[in-house]
Each structure stands twice: as structure tokens, then as C-alpha cells.
Symmetry: C2
Subunit: 362 residues, 2 copies
DNA sequence: CTCTCAATTGAGACCGGTCTCACAATACAT
DNA sequence: ATGTATTGTGAGACCGGTCTCAATTGAGAG
């Protein structure tokens, strides 16, 4: 510890106190802005602080106050525009309330999520906003709740975990979107999601380890059943994670089927992007050969030909709400657990048409 | 300070020590993994730590070691995919080296940048990666350098500030792209950038407060001059920041000109996006009525009709390099200041054609 | 059977802040 | 003039870690 001898040793309250010829306690009162101080001494200390270019050590402050003024965010993938905006929104709101943000990426891996949580708790964040990667392993989240550290789940509720949530009405949205496809005449529908399964085949809902995915597939299947479509489960495609090429391969396989779907509902904009590119590569025209709806109003969906119909999620609002909820808890609010489910909005664009066979029959 | 009485008081080394029946110093040695400890005591302490669910307080650790294991990032706008990926890449690399990341958004405002820097320095980050918003006011960056805290500028070098930089060959890229437009026969070119100016008219390079913007405009003008184009400065459009509608209005004004440009080079994908949408709204066809090249290979540019030619910037690599450079400095590397200029790659797509009048003449 | 040395261990200072408490100085009431 | 608040200040404990240093122990050497 040669910090004392270094010429670049940061200035401390003690240094300022010495220069202002007051006690450390008094200098701390001025610089920390808490105790009563006379105007004259205040000015003297401030002058000394300025002269020495004093910068408070927030860490030391945090360890003695027990609050860090920081909130931790754990998202699945910052590269995904959905999370990008969420982070932006959370961080805007946090700053507005005087908090900072530490960001961690789980890459949708539970182990990474656990590690990230550990670090954030170690850094004594005042609260956490998490997009849980897997609702089957949540012991680490339970620990957070048990330790009374405020936690808000983002986008993905977890049944049986009593904690604040901000999400969207995934089931309803998927149901309504599927209905639109059915109303357009489609009977061979597919739902493509980024979930990983080995083998990549849908067996049953117990496989769906992300709650939002489950809710959406629920909605999709419910709509199919309501329309009397047989075995809609066969249209569910678990296209795998963001690992290079995995999704693309799944999508290509789907479209290469001798009896390919005539309409697809995509679980997120990345999957939809793969689908769109695959249709282009195969020379398929939307909506003539394939109708497409995607979750999330990504930038690109509005500029393709035709533009893609989407289920718009109010991400920015979601982030703001999550941050506000969290900060309220940090500030001591003790109301019962809240589920904040925001409505989605369907944006109809040119990507929905009648299935080809139907067109031919007319 | 009623922390001691609370039943949720976090477990400390002292608690663990008491339970393991050793001194605080010994427990700390085991938990911190530094001093020599006998195997037997080690196991006892570890068992006690586990039983109590001990979680080290990284803040306390940081204040006594003087290192926080954290690097700070200040970007202009996380919502921008360019920065999104940069953040992702930096954070990946940081984690790989055992560092965490605190994120701050400047919104391209110097004041916010200053504030963010202040907070990050307060939190004693071990190093900083910054995308400076304005190269005219850099006193706060100078302070960082002076205090010997490692700093890497990202994407935007600043002349006269002796500090590590990771950026791209903006001038060359802009020159080459402009040349392509000129070679296609264009003589009325525009360069549209997100810079804000009041009034929004290009007067001279001293106005260009972001170095990358300056370099690109330099390149653009140099190519125009080389081709003997007169008064190319008139084609420079300072379209303003991300404030709602500002860019859109500027772009619409540009296209509504009685003698509109026949080719545009866009400074980033957001501006290009506005331009693309504006052409669609006006019924202009690319590349027949307008040729378009954009900086940055944003997702959407590959799926439009036609797809947009872009200057691809190796963002992920840039982020990785910046993080590695920074971490090397944090670990004590003292080599002279490095400028890491990465090459861009031109991706030719269908958005470049001959100007219309030329076509008509054939 | 001492002596030296290395390996462990504990006591306590320290990091840079906050915060409690006792005390001095002044203001006001009696 | 005396007693009582009120205000400002300093001394020093504390937060939860790290780290220095001296003390204790046992093994091997002479």
C-alpha cells in the first residue's frame, strides 16, 4: 500500500480538513452536506476542496452508509435492440433519480446470470432488474428476494416467485396475432422462437423454460385450437439461441419442408430477421408465399418490402416502469408485490395475405 | 445506522471468523484468498462462510485495495445499434478479464458527459472508455489523463489530447465512398450528418465539434475537390441531433430542394434510416432517383429493396481492442500512447446507380 | 537440549468516508 | 447573574474489508 507516498494519491477529506484548518468531521460535514456548519467554515472548506480538486470517494461513502446509489441490470443480450432500448430507458430513469447503472449480460445462460448476480450483490447494488434466462433454476433469484434486496423481473414473470414484475400481455398478444393469420385463411401456421432444445422439437410446455415464450406459445396454441386447427404443436419451431447459424439452419429447414407453413409468427425480431432473409434467399414473396408477423417493432420491419406486421411492445415504457418500481422499493415502499402488465399494440403492415392455395382457388 | 440490529444485516468476515473460531485476520485471509493459512483452518473458515452464506462486500474491498475491478463506459447513445454492439463487446472483454462495467449515456451532451465522468471517477473505476461528445470542451478529459487514470477514446480521436484511441479510418472511408458515387456519375452530392448547428448550415470545419464527423467531411470534400466538383460544401447537411423530428425535417427539406442531390452519403445508420424513409414517403426510388451510402452496416440496410451500400465498421473488434488496451494500461503497461485505427470495409449493395439525368441522356 | 527457521496466527492499524457524542460557545429566558 | 437551550465543533468509533507486524508454534539442525 504505497498510496500515501504516490504523488497521485487522491485527495481525501482529511487533506481538505488540514488545509481548511478544521477537523476532519467538520470538513466531512461540508463535503458530505449533512451536519450543521457555520457559513464561514463552510466557505473555507469549499475553497480548500476546490483548491485541492477534491473528489469524494463514493465507494468509501457507500461502505459506511450501506447504500451504493447503484442499480444492477442483468439482460439476456444487450445487442438485441429490445434490450438496448430497455437499458437506455432504465438508465435514463435511474439517472433522473440519482442512481447509476451497472450492466451485466447473461447471454441467456443461467450460470452467467448467477455469476452476474453474485458480482452485483457483491458491489452492493441497491436493487436489481433482471431478465431471467431460465425459470426452472431460480434459487439465486430466491436468495435475492430472501435477502430483501429489491428486485424487479423484466419481461419475464416467474410463477411462484413473489416479486415485482414488468412485462407485456404476451399470451393475449400471441393469441390475437395468430387469430389475424387464421382470419386471413391460414391453417398451416408456425411459431418460431429462439429457445434451445435438444433435440429441437416441441414436446410439451414443460420444455419452455422462459415464461414469456411459454405465454406466447400458449396464446398461439389457444388460437389454433379455437379455430379447430389440428395438431398445431407441430408448427412450433424451437430454433435455438444466437449461436452462429443455429437459427438460420432451423429456419431454412422449416421453409424447405415439403408442406411448409403458410404463415409464421416470430417470437422476436432477430428470429423474424432470419426468416425474412431466408425467404429472400429462397425467392419466396411475402405475403404471397408466406405471411409473417413478428414480436417487437424493430427498426428494419418498417422498411422492408413489404413492411412486416408486428406486435409492438412498449419497451421504453417497460424500462421506465421497472426502474420506477424498483426505485420506489429502494426508497422503502412496502406495498404488496406488483405485476405491471403493459398492453401491446398490433401494427398491421403489408406482410399478411391469404395463403397461396386459397388464392389459387378463387 | 441500525444495521447491526437488523435481522438482514449482511454477514461479514468478523461473523465468519467468530463462527470458525479464528481471528478476523485469518478468516479474511481465507475469504480474500491472500495470506498463508493451514489447510485445516481454511476448511473450517470455508465451512463457516458457507453456513452463514457469506458474501464479500466488494465495496469495502475496493476502498481498502484502491482498485474497484470496474471500468466505466460513456457512450453517446446506447440506443444506437453501433454503441449497443460496442458496449456488448467491451463488456464481454471486460468480464473475460475479471472486470465489470458501469455504463453511462451522455446523450451526446458535454454536460452530461462531465457529470457521468464525475460519478465514475467517484466510484473509482479503474479505467474509462469514452466517446467524447465535443472535442472543443475537453478539460474534464484532460483531468482524467492528468490524474493518471487509464482512458481510451472510442471512435473519436481528439487532436492534442495525448491518450489511447481506437477508431476507424473515417477520412479514407468517406473519401472512397464518395469516389464511388462520383464514379457512378454523380456531381450533386450531399453528406448528411447528425451534428447540430444553429443555424443548421455548414460554414467551416471549425464548426465540426466531433472529430469523426470532421474526418468524414474532410474525406467527402477531398473527393469532391479531386473530381473538380464546385462548392461541395453546399452539400453538407447538418441534420441535428436525435431530438424528435429534427433530423426528419432536415432530410425532408434536403429532398424537397428544387435541385436535390442525386447521391447522399449518410454519417450513420440512423440518419440513413431517416433518408430511406423520406425517399419512400416521397415516392423516390433508390437508386434511380437517389443513390445512397451509409456509414455502419446496420441490420436494416441488408433487407431493404434495394439493400443499402454501407461502410462497414468493425464495431465489435473496436470494442474488444479498446477494452484490451484499457485493461493492459490498468495492469500497468506504460508503452507510449497508441492510436489504433481499424480499417473499414465497403459493402456494395444495390443502392448506387447513375444519376437520373445521366440515365435519361443515354 | 538448545538454536534457528519457517509456517501460522492474532492484534490492530489502515482505507476514506459517515455518524455519535461530548463539549464549548453563544443566545435567550428568568 | 444564573440557568437553559441552541448551535457549532472536534475526537473518535464505525463500516467491512486488507495488510503489516509481532508473537507463537513446531520441525529440523547443531
Amino acid at each position: 500500500m504505497d498510496r500515501k507516498t504516490s504523488p497521485f494519491r487522491p485527495v481525501t477529506v482529511a487533506d481538505v480538513a488540514r488545509r481548511a484548518e478544521v477537523s476532519k468531521a467538520t470538513a466531512a460535514r461540508v463535503l458530505g452536506g449533512y451536519g450543521p456548519v457555520s457559513e464561514e467554515v463552510k466557505l473555507r472548506v469549499q475553497a480548500a476542496a476546490k483548491a485541492l480538486d477534491y473528489r469524494p470517494n463514493e465507494l468509501a461513502r457507500s461502505v459506511s452508509t450501506g447504500k451504493s446509489g447503484t442499480i444492477g441490470i442483468v439482460v439476456g443480450d444487450i445487442e438485441n435492440a429490445f434490450f438496448g432500448i430497455a437499458v437506455r430507458s432504465i438508465s435514463d430513469t435511474a439517472h433522473r433519480h440519482g442512481f447509476n447503472v451497472i450492466l451485466a449480460n447473461s447471454g441467456e445462460e443461467v450460470e452467467a446470470e448467477k455469476a452476474a448476480l453474485k458480482v452485483l450483490v457483491g458491489k452492493r447494488v441497491d436493487g436489481l432488474i433482471v431478465t431471467p434466462a431460465d425459470n426452472r433454476t431460480i434459487a439465486h433469484l430466491r436468495d435475492i428476494v430472501r435477502s430483501r434486496r429489491p428486485l424487479v423481473l423484466f419481461d419475464r414473470p416467474i410463477e411462484g416467485l413473489s416479486v415485482d414484475v414488468v412485462a407485456t400481455d404476451d399470451r393475449d398478444a400471441a393469441f390475437a396475432a395468430t387469430m389475424r393469420l387464421i382470419e386471413a385463411g391460414h391453417r398451416r401456421l408456425a411459431y418460431v422462437t429462439a429457445l434451445h432444445a435438444e433435440p429441437p422439437v416441441f414436446i410439451g410446455p414443460e420444455q419452455l423454460y422462459t415464461s414469456s415464450v411459454k405465454a406466447r406459445i400458449d396464446g398461439f396454441l389457444a388460437a389454433c385450437h379455437a379455430a379447430g386447427i389440428e395438431a398445431p404443436e407441430q408448427g412450433i419451431c424451437l430454433a435455438g439461441g444466437a449461436i452462429a447459424g443455429q437459427q438460420r439452419a432451423s429456419v431454412e429447414r422449416l421453409l424447405a419442408d415439403p408442406e411448409p407453413p403458410t404463415a409464421i409468427l416470430a417470437s422476436d425480431s432477430l428470429v423474424a430477421f432470419e426468416i425474412f432473409k431466408a425467404t429472400q434467399a429462397r425467392g419466396l414473396r411475402i405475403p404471397d408465399h408466406l405471411s409473417l408477423i413478428s414480436f417487437y417493432d424493430a427498426e428494419w420491419t418498417s422498411v422492408t418490402t413489404p413492411p412486416i406486421s408486428v406486435i409492438d411492445q412498449p419497451v421504453y415504457d417497460m424500462g421506465t416502469r421497472a426502474a420506477e418500481l424498483l426505485i420506489a422499493r429502494i426508497n422503502g415502499e412496502t406495498s404488496p408485490v406488483r405485476q405491471c402488465i403493459l398492453p401491446t399494440r398490433f401494427i398491421a403492415r403489408g406482410s399478411i395475405g391469404a395463403p397461396r392455395r386459397l388464392l389459387a382457388a378463387i
